[in-house]
């Protein structure tokens, strides 16, 4: 499993950890049962379950018209490198450097100035760097050009 910011966030909340622990011992509980057993309001329970599902830490199936929740068999290797990678992965400029290297990033920053000054279209920018239009937009947004 990828150690992403989504996972960090999901695991940083006390009630989410309590839900995971409860589900380890009682797999297949419904949202109502989780809420009741932990004394958490049902709306908060739904929010936590959605967050945990999105992070890939739990899953559900539907039985008798009700969602039943289970813990995924997740394992993380937490090292300074994996932490750094997880945090860096939400910023596209870091992803860009990882894919294309620092040299191309420096060139992109230089060309972004021309886009900012209205001397180069975003599509020309993308073409000159051999990247997709979406990558160009993401990078230009983070560089404050768009």
């Amino acid at each position: 499993m990828v150690l992403s910011v989504m996972v960090f966030k999901a695991l940083s909340r006390d009630q989410n950890i309590r839900i995971i622990s409860l589900l380890v011992e009682n797999p297949g509980l419904s949202a109502d049962e989780i809420s009741e057993k932990l004394g958490i309001p049902i709306s908060t329970t739904y929010k936590s379950l959605a967050e945990l599902c999105k992070a890939g830490l739990i899953r559900y199936d539907v039985r008798g018209g009700e969602r039943r929740f289970y813990v995924e068999d997740f394992r993380f290797e937490v090292t300074p490198e994996t932490l750094l990678k997880g945090l860096r992965s939400v910023e596209f400029k870091n992803v860009f450097s990882d894919i294309y290297g620092e040299g191309k990033y420096v060139r992109a920053v230089r060309l972004a100035g021309d886009v900012r000054d209205g001397k180069l279209t975003v599509r020309q920018f993308a073409k000159m760097l051999s990247i997709t239009y979406h990558e160009a937009i993401l990078l230009l947004m983070e560089l404050g050009v768009i």
Binding site: V2, S4, V90, L120, Y133, E135, I137, M141, I146
Partner: protein, 172 residues
């Protein structure tokens, strides 16, 4: 007079990234404004987004997932007819197309072959729709496109992702 926003991918992607796409859609539906893109823009919004998502996935599954979701959203808006796809009439506007290409090449100081079709399309489409009697706003976060369209028509209004909402709230 029919009100039309010709949208560039840049503005739609930026608005979606800022989680304001629903606000824009509600506004155009409520005010009966046509939100129009060219086929080349649609390709960027859907096909290019998915290509970028595949490329980014090994480095950032979170970002890749966002791109994939965004592509799905745009495809759905087109299916529902909220974003309308209008083709450029190349036969009628071939001279204008060449002039726009030359203008962008001159502005950027780059050869004409480096001018992308979608850049030309969005400008020619705006003029084509204006000629058909519509009140047109060309919405783009690309300053070069905004600069270029102003060289060809003073009747076409322009907006970027920061000014579009204000312009749409006022009567077109």
């Amino acid at each position: 007079m029919s009100k039309t926003v010709v949208a560039d991918s840049s503005i739609l992607i930026a608005i979606d990234r800022r989680r304001k796409l629903n606000v824009l859609i509600n506004l155009v539906v409520k005010r009966n404004i046509d939100l129009v893109v060219s086929p080349s823009i649609l390709h960027e919004l859907v096909v290019d987004a998915r290509e970028a998502s595949r490329k980014i996935y090994p480095y950032s599954p979170v970002l890749a997932e966002k791109l994939e979701k965004s592509a799905g959203k745009f495809a759905e808006l087109v299916d529902k007819g909220i974003i309308k796809v209008v083709s450029v009439n190349y036969a009628k506007y071939s001279k204008l197309k060449d002039s726009v290409k030359k203008r962008i090449a001159k502005l950027s100081g780059k050869p004409e072959h480096l001018v992308e079709k979608a850049d030309i399309d969005i400008i020619v489409l705006s003029i084509q729709l204006k000629d058909s009697g519509r009140s047109v706003i060309l919405a783009s976060d690309d300053k070069t496109i905004i600069k270029t369209v102003k060289n060809f028509s003073r009747e076409i209004r322009t907006a970027n992702s920061k000014t579009l909402f204000k312009q749409l709230q006022q009567a077109i």
